[in-house]
Symmetry: C2
Subunit: 432 residues, 2 copies
């Protein structure tokens, strides 16, 4: 690509950047937590249609995906779980096809009083945009769209098929990305601008979610000694899981995570138990999230977690007879390592991104393994499609006052546009 | 009272006992948990009006009671928190006046699958009636009513003023009983048939409820080590409270609790924390219930509990800077000891009940201290009215498959009727 074309594309993106920031603010004002993504998806669909894309919005049908590899147990139901894909068909069909993927769902905002301002009224300050989902990952999702807009404004379009995906369920199962695969959306590579500081994610862990439900013997609080407090019975089980986490991290590390201090993170993310201060609680339920390495057998890992919990229960006379119920709900996500993806396209795609990143920033593209999961695993593991995760700098994702760096978002938008141009090839748009 | 009169009264109660059981079943089918007592209260009011009582049903006004001794911080709001009092005026006015008190509110039923049958569809088996609230304390409340019915059916009415009270809020604050006092309902003694196995409660502990709210530092679960898990931060605080409970029980016992193995019970009755399995929880909140002795200063006890929690927080580098918030909600209940109530009426009332109990059962009335609270404290402490707690045998109150012994309920109904007859005196009803 000649320097002039690059410059024309980059200028077009810069010209529209204020509009891009407004768009990000608008879409971040939709509180698109799990089950509530509809208005954000409809807004996105309308925007895509205005731009002339052919759009496909559909409700995920669990029956169609539940037997596929990578499927995770559903939480709640999928009424109105809307996935959205816009398709661009290259006129000449000469280039390599591409999926630009992003997720529309955000994690819950938590207690409002811990936010400086309301989480769904995005605000800008010192070059950052704040708000739930701004970083994770609406800035990336919008960057995908405005990268394509930039190409168009410069008079170009991708010379190959390109699928713009806005999916649900990334934060709990990945079943949104899986449903896109099942519906037939496949390409030569995928790019997901998750907010990892303009670095390329070369490996990601797998994630298991499970829910542990304990019973107690409820009595009036006046006779606490004759009851079994289900809340306090949970404490040694949590301690046992922490020991297991320590063991796993002390063991041999996956080569891609050799320099990561603590690759496999346990989180006790939620707890609920009991109904009344003066009744010994009859039940307690807590949510476990645990990381595993790429290539680690997820069934075996799940069994080890279960064993850990059940072994700890043996120490408790009541739990020994009334073992906790363990259910899987949400992530059963395998790890994925782009760096080990044994396919020429994986190497090529990475090189193309390296060039784009260098052209925009002047720096080498840094690579990093992450201790989280992304939807990249679906493309990489189940469709043999190299999946690059590369997005803007953000802070406090899943936390309070989540924020994304707007200049970083701008740079990433440039890089994505140049990546698309290079990977798919460009063709002039015939303006009539 | 001559033997014939006694027999006539007791026969009348027996004749109507099937109806009494039906009434108990009917009122126990109302799920009168906190905030949902209205239908049960309206049913009770209609029943009282049918019997010709003058009834007074009113919504508790927090402003009218909040500055009174014994008031406990309100949970939720008091819209439609309906108290009910029916008044009987003795024609001659010669006897001693009496309050027959009971509470209509029940504690939450907990997970339904732990009940053999639905908790608000009472069922009878082997002489027990099962269902939430049957024991605690609708059987006693209904016994009060049918004891009066028995007297009437035998041709008598109390010769003094008698107030039949059906109150709310016993299970969390006692503000229902307090509101009755504030409204002017006072008498020479009170009887509350709480389900304590046909024994007389001679002392009851005080109860403090508090809620402990912890903050964490929420981050994405991929960086758990940089966040502070508010759920796990709560664990050492709970452990510290257990140590304090141990210390308090190891110390000098209140004389009335000398033979009680473990008088002061701590309960961690409820916990909630976190919003998402893959977010380090930003918050956790747990409910504490702790017993104190009669005469123990409740302010000082509360401060000791607070100190215990805050001292334990000092051990945690994050909590040291972000100490938990402690709020009082619900019980701030002082202990009460009928046995130490220094007033002739206290001794007399006890003797009258001893006679009634002996006449019905042939046994001596046993006395017991209890490690719970009842509304007796309001009458005893704040109106200098001896308050007798004496009711039927029940099991699994606050638990699953709560049940009350029907023959015990019958005996208690007899005893209450004879107590009323003896305490208030009887006068013949003039049947026109």
């Amino acid at each position: 690509m000649d320097k002039q074309t690059v410059q024309r594309i980059r200028d077009a993106i810069d010209r529209r950047f204020d509009e891009q920031v407004d768009f990000l603010s608008e879409i971040s004002s939709h509180a698109s937590t799990r089950g509530a993504e509809q208005s954000a998806q409809r807004f996105m669909r309308d925007q895509l249609q205005e731009r002339g894309y052919q759009t496909d919005m559909w409700e995920i049908d669990v029956d169609e995906i539940s037997s596929l590899p990578g499927f995770s147990p559903v939480i709640g139901n999928y009424d109105e779980a809307l996935n959205l894909v816009a398709t661009h068909r290259g006129g000449t069909g000469g280039g390599r096809s591409l999926i630009l993927n992003g997720h529309i769902d955000v994690v819950p905002e938590g207690p409002l009083d811990m936010w400086h301002r309301p989480p769904y009224e995005p605000w800008c300050e010192d070059g950052w945009m704040y708000g739930r989902g701004t970083g994770d990952m609406k800035a990336g999702l919008v960057a995908n769209l405005f990268a394509l807009d930039g190409l168009r404004e410069a008079g170009y379009q991708p010379a190959a098929s390109l699928y713009f995906q806005s999916v649900v369920e990334e934060e709990c199962t990945g079943n949104g990305a899986l449903a896109c695969l099942q519906r037939g959306y496949q390409a030569d590579a995928a790019l997901i601008p998750e907010p990892f500081d303009e670095k390329l994610v070369t490996a990601q862990v797998g994630i298991i979610w499970m829910q542990v439900y304990l019973r107690g013997t409820p009595v009036h609080a006046m006779q606490t000694s004759s009851g079994v407090n289900a809340i306090e019975a949970a404490i040694p089980l949590i301690a046992a899981l922490r020991r297991l986490e320590k063991d796993w991290n002390a063991g041999d590390k996956h080569p891609r995570f050799e320099h990561v201090d603590h690759p496999l993170n346990l989180n006790i993310g939620r707890i609920q138990g009991g109904d009344w201060a003066s009744s010994v609680p009859a039940w307690c339920c807590f949510d476990v999230r645990m990381g595993i390495y790429p290539g680690q057998d997820i069934e075996a890992a799940g069994r080890k977690l279960e064993e850990c919990i059940l072994d700890a229960s043996q120490e408790d006379p009541y739990l020994r007879k009334n073992p906790p119920q363990i259910t899987y709900h949400g992530f059963r996500a395998e790890g994925y390592s782009l760096a080990d993806h044994d396919k020429p396209e994986a190497h090529e795609a990475r090189q193309v991104l390296e060039r784009a990143h260098h052209a925009v920033t002047g720096d080498e593209l840094q690579a990093m393994p992450i201790t989280a999961t992304t939807d990249a695993r679906f493309f990489g593991l189940y469709a043999d499609t190299p999946a690059l995760v590369y997005g803007p700098r953000a802070e406090s994702i899943h936390g309070f006052n989540e924020r994304v760096d707007l200049e970083s978002t701008r740079r990433v938008t440039h890089s994505i546009a140049l990546f698309v141009a290079d990977w798919c090839g460009l063709e002039k748009i015939n303006r009539k």
